[in-house]
Structure formats: C-alpha cells, structure tokens
Symmetry: C2
Subunit: 203 residues, 2 copies
C-alpha cells in the first residue's frame, strides 16, 4: 500500500490550468478505475477545483457525458476509405473495427451501459459511419446495411457483456485476460457470409 | 395503496406445506419484482418459514439458483423435432425460439446477468439443445453450428441489454412496451442468410 503525499499550503493553482481536455482526461481515468461516469462533484474534488469551474466548460453532466463518450468512441479503429485492393480486405477491416470496439468496452467497464442509456445517439453514429466505410465495397442496399449494423452491434454488445460478467465471477480470471479475440473469429466469419450473400438473396 | 393484513397468532403452518415448487415459485415472483435472485433469508421471510426449512430442499444458494434458472429457461419455446415439411419452416421456428427467449429475459430483469455469471452452464445447454433442433434440417457441420449458436446468443443478449437499458432511461417508455419484436426481424433474416450459405462457403 502506498501513502499519498498530502498537499499542503496554497492550492496548486490547478483551476488556472483547467481545460476541457484536462477535465475529460480525468473523467476517463475515473471511468476506467470505477466503472462509471464520475459526478461533477467527484471530478471537481479530484481536479482540486470548484465544481463551478467545470460547469464553465460543460454546462451540465449530460454535456460532459456526451463529450466523453464521443471522444472515447473516436478512439476505435478508423478504416481507410477507398483502399480495398483485394476482395476480402473488407473482412480484415471489419475484424479490426470490432476488435478495437471490444477493447474499448473492456477497458471502460460501464461504458456499454452508458452508451445504451444515453438519449443522444452520437457514439452510435460514429460506429455506424466506420461500419459503412468497411462495407462500402459490398454495395449493400440501405435496409441490408441497417440490418447488418444492428446484428453486428448487438452481437458485439452481447459478447462484451459476457466478458464483463465473466470478470465479475468468483473464479480467478480477471476480465482483461478473458478478452479472447479468437473466440470472435468464428461468429464474425459466419456474419461475413451473411453480408456476402444478402444481395443475392434479395435479388 | 393497499394495506397488507398482518398475520396474528400462531404461524399458519406454511412450513408444513413447503415444497421445492413453492420455494421456486416465490423465488421467481421475487425475481420478477426485484430484478435479482432473492437471498435465502428474504425467501424464508416471504414464505413465513425458517431459513433452515429452505436448506432442507436446496443445500445452498447455488443449488437454488441452478434450479430456478434451469426451470425458467425450460419455459422458452420447444421446437417440434422432425416436423419440417417446408424448406423455410426452420426460420419460423428460429423466430419463435428467439422471441420467447427475449420475452423471458425481459420479464425477469437481472436474469441475463445471472445466466452469464453462473459457473454451471445448464441454462445455456437448454437453449443450445433447442437451437440444434431448429437448425437440424440445415445439416451444418459442428463448427458452423457452434459459430451460429455463438453469433445468435450474443446478438440476443445484446438486444436484451439494449431493451433493459432503454427501460431504465429517463424517457417515458417502460421496458416491457419497448420489446419490439419487429426490430428483431431484419437482423434475424440476415442471420438466416448466413446459416443458409455457410455450407456452400466451406465446401
């Protein structure tokens, strides 16, 4: 156990150095540690500033939540547009997108539930936009693409949930080490068969 | 608000009438109301018996949990074996199986997390056995069937999670009414395309 050095004397002037970025970084760090979005009060305490200073950057908790989740999901893999030389390249890109999304969800416990409970949909839009880049070479119609997105996203969320519940289990595995990307391969390959054949089925 | 009549005088002799079935029924009822598996103590209080009386039927909380979850999942749709006259019948059967599984999960908040955190796998085996009856006419190889099961189960869990998070949301919809089976149709039809084409892809 380490003992934190107690700060003495005048406040370190953190309030003067405060920025939206610093607030977001601290929020993410608390989310990783505690598995939920911190309260403004908790953030203020950790940043050694007054809560009002945070409201200067984010008008309310929802604005902060929106900024954090959007920033987090932008960390997932960004497929390169218009760079598909071989027929099967889109599958590799899809795999990278899914893997990085699952990594994000496993690093931030509670992030999935946060996404799903949010009234705005901007994180979902970020994922959808990247998914659409990946499947562009398949020339799916709008409905097939939407069904493909829904099937994939709910599959990934179910997978992430199983990982996080495993992690809470009484056996000794911790949730990080359980994130076995090989287990993703088979179902994802099957999913690709659906995308490859849906247009033939429709027409 | 209703006022519960307080029982007076001698205990009503509920202990004498106790059975595994009565314990399970009360457990399910508490799960529906409270979204989690009740403690033995809580169960005993609700049944007006001593906790030891419950241990007579279930040696520990895990044995009770196992019995409840297995009993619950046996309530889902049981496909009829060997009754597939038309080519597309398996899709209807699959739809019924998925719909009844999602209904179960939405009626028992917390059941999904309970399934996923359990160290035994008997509820998963019940679902797998019914899934195998449904896909029997497709004559999939073992690996394709396993991938199909994994993709479907995690998809359904992700869908159930989205429904339950919606229910907790601040908007006025309650989680029951949000369970829109029509939203299942598109992704499930896409999923069926995968199952129908996987064998062609392999060979």
């Amino acid at each position: 156990m380490t003992v934190k050095g107690k700060k003495r004397g005048r406040p370190s002037g953190a309030a003067n150095q405060l920025s939206a970025q610093i607030i977001m970084d601290m929020s993410k760090s608390l989310m990783r540690e505690q598995g939920k979005v911190p309260s403004i009060r908790k953030l203020a305490r950790c940043l050694n500033v007054d809560a009002m200073a945070i409201y200067h950057y984010f008008s309310n908790k929802n604005a902060l939540l929106e900024a954090i989740t959007t920033s987090l999901i932008e960390e997932i893999y960004l497929p390169e547009e218009g760079n598909f030389n071989t027929r099967d390249n889109w599958k590799l890109e899809l795999n990278k997108l899914c893997t990085s999304y699952l990594s994000l969800l496993s690093h931030y416990p509670g992030l999935l539930e946060t996404f799903l409970s949010m009234s705005t949909i901007s994180p979902a839009e970020v994922f959808a936009a990247r998914f659409n880049i990946v499947i562009e070479p398949l020339h799916l119609d709008v409905e097939s693409a939407k069904n493909g997105l829904d099937l994939l996203v709910d599959y990934l969320h179910g997978y992430a949930l199983a990982l996080s519940c495993n992690g809470k289990d009484c056996n000794s595995k911790d949730s990080q080490s359980t994130l076995n990307m090989e287990m993703l391969e088979g179902p994802l390959a099957l999913y690709c068969v659906a995308l490859e054949n849906i247009m033939n089925t429709n027409g």
